[in-house]
């Protein structure tokens, strides 16, 4: 006499299945027996009603097996206040996702933890975007780690424990995080570990783990990287070659030097001579393109395929120049970078050489050459090069450069200005932020159709220095005719400014 018997009858239908007829000797049985049986359907429904009522009233909780899983240990750090917690919730709910990093850094700087209800959202975010995991870990606290242990998708959190078993048994994301941490404290051990398992790693994993070596590169890594040059997969080989190129004493660099030196010839300036009736000639750089790209070159990472915009042989030359330390040229020719660059621009290969020098500057992060190349990039209005060259310089230097561009050079097409401003990363300094604001005020006073820049205004608002937030929210010429065009973007700009002000206030109060 079980409810499931009645359910069975109902499922099949009374036409096909007779309702149960036996009842136990009990009060319930007695009641059920008294239900008239002349109408099958009515019998089923009435009996079901009695039983349903009986069961619902009689139902108690279930006795759960096992015991309560262990609770989370107490937090050592404090949590952020309610206001800051509320702002995080708004950020996570999609209001201003690009401000997430700011919230995280404000919390981390004060050693504070995220509120508990935000933790699942943060853990999910870390699962989806590996790049952000390091920023997230400091605000998770004991609660976050406790929670993360419950789902395999959140295993990435505990990868920060220096536990070599993570390396042996974790998934690739966990192992990568482990290796990155180890690489910071003990780069040689990290390399050794990677070398041990290299042969068993899948090609995708190889690329990922190889990337870890990018930080802390040293000659110690050279022998391993040389073996990786023979890897089956091209991207893996190229990456290894890139790393080797960053080691000026490496064998690869020596090989590249040998190949590159014969390609260029520096011809110093000649003074004109009245007697010889010849004009003075400026310095120039003569180019002798390589004839071929033999397999040894390709093993060292030179692509056979032409780079976009250049011929095949020129592309090989560019790649070689890219890989050779810039000091090679200043040493060989005993002249300054500015002389070399100026000389490169006066010949027929100016485009190729300019490109090559710029790549080398960016790869080798050489500030001395960067200043020279920037100068020329500006003169030649090569804004594309500007974006990457600028950030070779320290922030204070590129801010000065950009300030100059903002205040003086009205010729910069504004659609590049947005990209230029937003290139690189990190908060702008106080003074630079003020300069940008000044430029924006002038810009919004003029009519424009630059909807691309308008869309970028909110990102500009995100980079301003905190002290400039208040000035950014006032003193705008909103009545001008051009404001109507800008207002949509500026509304978002103000919203971001205000949000950031709320962030500053919320954390200041904590």
């Amino acid at each position: 006499m079980n409810f499931s018997e009645w359910v069975q009858t109902a499922l099949l239908g009374t036409e096909r299945h007779a309702p149960p007829r036996t009842f136990e000797e009990s009060t319930l049985g007695g009641v059920l027996r008294r239900i008239p049986t002349d109408d099958r359907v009515r019998t089923v429904l009435s009996s079901a009603a009695v039983m349903a009522g009986y069961e619902r009233v009689g139902r108690g909780p279930e006795r759960l097996p096992g015991s309560t899983p262990p609770a989370c240990p107490d937090e050592v750090q404090s949590r952020v206040g309610a206001a800051a917690g509320d702002l995080l919730r708004r950020i996570l709910e999609g209001e201003r996702p690009f401000l997430r990093s700011e919230w995280l850094s404000l919390a981390t700087a004060r050693d504070l933890l995220a509120p508990p209800m935000a933790l699942p959202g943060l853990l999910e975010w870390g699962a989806r975007e590996p790049a952000v995991r390091e920023e997230l870990v400091p605000v998770l606290g004991e609660r976050g780690r406790w929670l993360a242990a419950m789902r395999p998708e959140w295993e990435w959190v505990t990868g920060d424990r220096r536990d070599e078993s993570q390396w042996q048994t974790g998934d690739v994301a966990t192992r990568e995080l482990f290796l990155r941490h180890l690489r910071r404290s003990d780069p040689e051990r990290a390399l050794t570990l990677l070398g041990e398992t290299w042969k068993q790693e899948s090609p995708d994993d190889r690329l990922r783990l190889l990337d870890v070596l990018a930080s802390g590169l040293s000659p110690f890594d050279e022998p391993f990287l040389e073996t990786v040059l023979r890897d089956k997969r091209k991207e893996v080989r190229r990456r290894a070659a890139e790393f080797l190129m960053r080691l000026p004493e490496s064998d690869l660099v020596r090989r590249m030097k040998v190949r590159a030196l014969p390609l260029l010839k520096f011809i110093p300036a000649t003074a004109g001579s009245l007697l010889k009736l010849s004009k003075s000639k400026p310095a120039s750089v003569e180019v002798i393109l390589p004839e071929s790209c033999p397999p040894e070159w390709q093993r060292d990472g030179i692509e056979v395929r032409a780079l976009p915009g250049f011929g095949e042989k020129a592309s090989w030359m560019i790649q070689l120049l890219d890989g050779v330390p810039l000091s090679t040229w200043t040493d060989a020719w005993e002249v300054n970078p500015s002389v070399i660059v100026e000389a490169s621009l006066s010949g027929e290969w100016s485009k190729e050489l300019m490109d090559a020098w710029s790549r080398a500057v960016v790869r080798q992060q050489n500030p001395e050459w960067a200043v020279v190349c920037l100068d020329w990039a500006r003169k030649l209005q090569r804004w594309d090069l500007l974006e990457s060259l600028l950030h070779v310089l320290p922030q204070s230097a590129w801010e000065i450069d950009l300030s100059r561009i903002l205040t003086e050079e009205k010729t910069v097409a504004h659609d590049r200005m947005g990209a230029l401003l937003l290139s690189g990363s990190g908060r702008w300094s106080d003074t630079f932020s003020a300069t940008v604001l000044g430029w924006l005020r002038a810009l919004t006073g003029q009519p424009s159709g630059d909807w691309m820049l308008r869309n970028q205004l909110k990102h500009i608002a995100a980079r301003l220095h905190p002290t400039q937030l208040k000035p950014a929210s006032e003193g705008w010429e909103t009545v001008s005719a051009s404001w109507e065009f800008w207002s949509k973007g500026m509304d978002e700009f103000f919203a971001v400014v205000q949000f950031r002000q709320e962030l500053q206030t919320a954390f200041a109060e904590t």
Binding site: F3, S4, W6, V7, T9, A10, L11, L12, G13, T14, E15, R16, H17, R40, V41, R42, V44, L45, S46, A48, A49, A52, G53, R56, V57, G58, R59, G60, P61, E62, R63, L64, S67, T68, P69, P70, A71, C72, A82, D86, R89, R90, E95, P116, M117, A118, L119, P120, R143, W146, L147, M150, S473, D491, F494, A495, Q498, E502
Partner: protein, 462 residues
């Protein structure tokens, strides 16, 4: 509901303890797009003028019209007024102003209300007083003939209603019978019209309560592998209502009231209000808003501390233009007189009179464990078999994940399943950290649907 407005606007004497967070403000939004528009306007910069006192807030801003819009909020309600043409309530300007108040109270610099705001507030105070006076005033002298005529008309209406309901229920019983005769296994494939038609006919038969429950049957089919059991239970309860109707006059008075409530007969609120109120400290357990067929229903669950019993405040709205009475935050408490609708297991109630403003409360939740809580719910289920849900207010439970489902476990080692999505489940886990927390929720006899969680001194609505 009366507010103590004559005491010089002392209702919320300290703006801090009833401080509204942006969360709570946005909960007042009638729909998500209003919430978003409200957020956009929650920026002090957008407002031309802004001001507040302890009892109200006001502001003006330039909208798309010629003249700036004037917006005002009576914080004691809260109640909103705005000169914009929107029919939503509260409109985005009201929400925006409230958000500015919640997030940047310092931006509301004016201190004395402008004419237009003061006028509206005075009018409101006037209306409240008039309403109070009317309710306590002696009734007007009656004309016996008019009364008799009205009574006769009412009787005729009632008789006609009864006839229609009887007919409608006979039809329903046949329909229910057909389901069981042919077998419910075939139901999951049926088109929506299969459920809409009988539901519509019940509306015609003036039994809207049953109509709603018939329409909801379709949802049971998709609730999981237990659906045949749950379906049969619900259908048998509806059959019980039909059987009950055919013998209604032989049923005890209270059960008659319950039956009429299931069918959906309206109950005169004046009659209910006229009863003696039950005074107690009523604690807010939580609030749920559901939307069915364009009708929005708000359930506010209260718990009477001394009475040790729950009360349910029901409000309905036909859409965004009709507001719910707002401001029911879990964990708050108010001293009030409640009156209950008639029935064998009274749940639904009305607030007859508030004696004090809403205040936060630190008292323990009433149910010490699940056995106690379920035992109490059993009393209600027994007395009125058509009770859909009963509130649980568990003092110390731990949310847990078992396999693919979510449960709560009490300190005796008992548990009940939760009806939550994974997103909510993980939030509950995070908020508890494996430690016992307070949890309120709606229990339907099978699962518990959480309303609010109390952990580390604060209340959360997951």
């Amino acid at each position: 509901m009366l507010e103590n407005l004559t005491g010089g606007r002392q209702v919320f004497s300290n703006r801090q303890y009833m401080a509204w967070t942006s969360d709570q403000v946005l909960a007042l939004a009638p729909d998500p797009s209003s919430a978003k528009s409200g957020k956009d306007l929650g920026v002090a910069r957008k407002w031309r003028t802004l001001g507040a006192t302890e009892a109200c807030a006001w502001g003006t801003l330039q909208g798309s019209g010629k003249d700036p819009y004037q917006t005002c909020i009576d914080l004691a309600g809260p109640a909103f007024k705005c000169t914009c043409p929107s029919r939503k309530f509260p409109c985005k300007h009201g929400l925006g102003l409230f958000l500015v108040l919640a997030q940047h109270p310092g931006a509301l610099t004016e201190t004395s209300p402008p004419m237009w705001a003061a006028e509206w507030l005075a009018k409101r105070a006037d209306q409240q007083e008039k309403k109070a006076a009317k309710e306590s005033a002696p009734s007007a002298p009656v004309d016996p003939e008019a009364v008799a005529k009205a009574a006769a008309a009412a009787e005729k209406r009632a008789a006609s209603r009864e006839a229609r309901v009887t007919e409608g229920l006979l039809e329903l019983q046949t329909w229910l019978g057909d389901l069981v005769r042919t077998g419910i296994a075939a139901l999951p494939g049926k088109p929506p019209a299969f459920w809409e038609t009988p539901s519509a006919r019940l509306v015609d038969a003036q039994a809207p309560g049953l109509a709603r429950r018939i329409a909801a049957l379709e949802g049971i089919l998709t609730c999981g592998e237990q659906w045949p059991t749950r379906f049969l239970r619900e259908v048998s309860r509806l059959h019980l209502a039909c059987e009950g109707w055919s013998r209604i006059h032989r049923l005890p008075a209270e059960t008659q009231a319950d039956l009429r409530a299931v069918l959906g007969f309206p109950v005169g609120q004046a009659e209910v209000m006229a009863q003696a109120g039950i005074r107690d400290s009523w604690r807010v357990l939580g609030r749920r808003v559901v939307e069915e067929e364009g009708l929005r229903t708000q359930r506010v669950w209260l718990w009477g501390r001394r009475e040790a019993r729950p009360a349910l405040l029901l409000s309905f709205s036909a859409g965004p233009s009709q507001p719910f009475d707002v401001g029911w935050m879990p964990g708050t408490e108010l001293e009030a007189d409640l009156v209950f609708f008639p029935g064998a297991a009274p749940l639904r109630a009305l607030v007859q009179q508030r004696q004090s403003p809403v205040d936060s409360s630190d008292a323990d939740l009433p149910h010490r464990n699940l056995s106690e809580a379920l035992a109490q719910s059993a009393e209600w289920f027994r007395a009125n078999p058509w009770t859909e849900r009963f509130p649980l207010a568990l003092r110390r439970v731990i949310p847990e994940r078992r396999g693919d489902g979510w449960w709560v476990r009490d300190e005796a080692g008992d548990g009940v399943p939760l009806a939550v999505s994974d997103t909510v489940g993980w939030k509950l886990m995070a908020a508890s950290g494996g430690h016992p927390v307070g949890l309120t929720g709606e229990w339907d006899g099978d699962t518990l649907m959480p309303l609010a969680l109390h952990a580390e001194g604060s209340w959360f609505t997951p």
